[in-house]
Amino acid sequence: MNYIGLYTFTRREVTRFLRVSVQTLLSPWISAVLFIFIFGEIVGSQIGMIGGMPYIEFVLPGVLMMNVLTSAFSHASSSLYFQRFARHIEEILVAPLSHIEMILGYITGALMRGLVIGVGILLIGVFFGVTTMHSPFLFALYIVLVSAVFALLGLLVGLWANGFEQLASLSTFVITPLSFFGGMFNTLDMLPPLLATATQYNPFFYFIDGMRFSMTGYHEAPIWVGLLIISVLFAALLVLVTTLFARGWRLRV
């Protein structure tokens, strides 16, 4: 294992997102403030309690999870795509780094960004008076696992994309809609029966539900189901991405 190489890879990735921190950190934090303020404070004051808690406490985990997974995905996909686009991926390809080390480097970079985003939104929540934390361990576990899953998904898109439109397509057509339909703003019993059933097949529902449980202790689905879905997705994506890296698909000519 090239530990120094892996550490350097991670440093490079962290430097990259810090270099454009207005776009990578400030923008999602501002978006979170708006969501929490509009939906949590203003709309929430009209809704009252939901799941036995003030609406703002209910909304915060969903907003946090959506931003964490979006950040991890964007980091991995844009980092790899831009490296391919500008050809400085060659700098990595000629180095004595294995495919696994490269993938771990991207995941760790995305995870760091996800963590910074997540902790930042947690602090924003505290500013709005949300101080609940049911299980710090599960909170950290969900951030780590979900960031890793979306980093792998980002790598897949970063490899596949041959243009900026393709790079943005998964985020626009899959991640954002599934997040919004994944119980960010509502419980299952607030939905029409058909949509409530469909939501139970939406993996994002389990990510948000698990995060909500870690922060508030409230959940609608068994936590083990969510963790199982995340683990299966992680394992499947890891195998797929590793295979593609090993074959050099769209990396090595």
């Binding site: 120094i4 550490y7 500008a86 400085h88 700098e91 180095a95």
Partner: protein, 246 residues
């Protein structure tokens, strides 16, 4: 016992979308050589370099760098190779010193040693006062120096230079030549591709010419310039380009 060659290429072929870029090439570069690798555009020079360095996948034949197989023992092989490509394949938003530090780190160089090497290279290539500038803010000549410094930061035994003086002014070209000679004299094997044949004639002791994916001639420089001929004449003759000259 003869010294292990710096580079051994045996029966290497490479195709892209059914079109053969390299057709069963074999080549040996002795350790310590200053080797000129010539050929027209599209002849297979870059493909060969990409296969040696790991940018392209080797699917047919074997390549060894100082006896180390570039596929089976890719980690060790890559630590022995430094590549300065023709194109600026760097993160253009990164500042110069950090760019060198990152590359040294990729090769597993420890922090203290990394810092010493980066400082030394910045000084050697007169980049110290530009160290905090982003790569994109440098002039063409300074960019070339960074590319060379980057290729050397892990102290490779085999340095591959793909058109290192393209777009470089006369002063810097002479300075780079002087530095490359020094480097070669202190034991680094150099593989140089260049369209400036006078540069190859001046620096290299051994030359190979590749054309249409095949090595068409290899030998000492004297072999190419015998009878008072210029390397360029022989090159045009070998590549068949003479007929098109006006």
């Amino acid at each position: 016992m003869p010294a292990t060659p710096a580079l051994t290429i045996e029966h290497v072929s490479k195709s892209y979308n059914g079109s053969k870029a390299l057709d069963d090439i074999s080549l040996t570069i002795p350790a310590g050589a200053f080797f000129g690798f010539l050929g027209p555009n599209g002849a297979g020079k870059s493909t060969t370099i990409h296969l040696i360095s790991g940018i392209a996948r080797l699917t047919e034949g074997t390549i060894r760098v100082f006896g180390t197989d570039v596929v089976a023992d890719y980690r060790e092989a890559r630590t022995k190779v430094g590549l300065a490509p023709q194109e600026f394949n760097v993160d253009i938003f990164e500042q110069v010193d950090r760019l060198l530090d990152f590359v040294a780190g990729d090769y597993g160089v420890r922090k203290k040693e990394r810092q010493e090497r980066v400082e030394s290279l910045l000084e050697r290539f007169e980049l110290t006062k530009h160290r905090h500038k982003e790569f994109r803010a440098l002039s063409g000549g300074l960019k070339r120096r960074v590319m060379l410094a980057r290729a050397l930061v892990h102290q490779p035994q085999l340095l591959i230079l793909d058109e290192p003086t393209a777009g470089v002014d006369v002063e810097l070209r002479h300075e780079l030549w002087r530095y490359l000679r020094e480097l070669n004299e202190t034991g680094t094997t150099i593989l140089l591709t260049s369209h400036y044949l006078e540069e190859v004639e001046l620096l290299c002791d051994t030359i190979a010419i590749i054309n249409q994916g095949k090595i068409v001639e290899v030998g000492d420089k004297a072999q190419f310039t015998s009878g008072g001929r210029k390397l360029e004449e022989r090159y045009l003759e070998i590549t068949g380009a003479r007929a098109t000259q006006t």
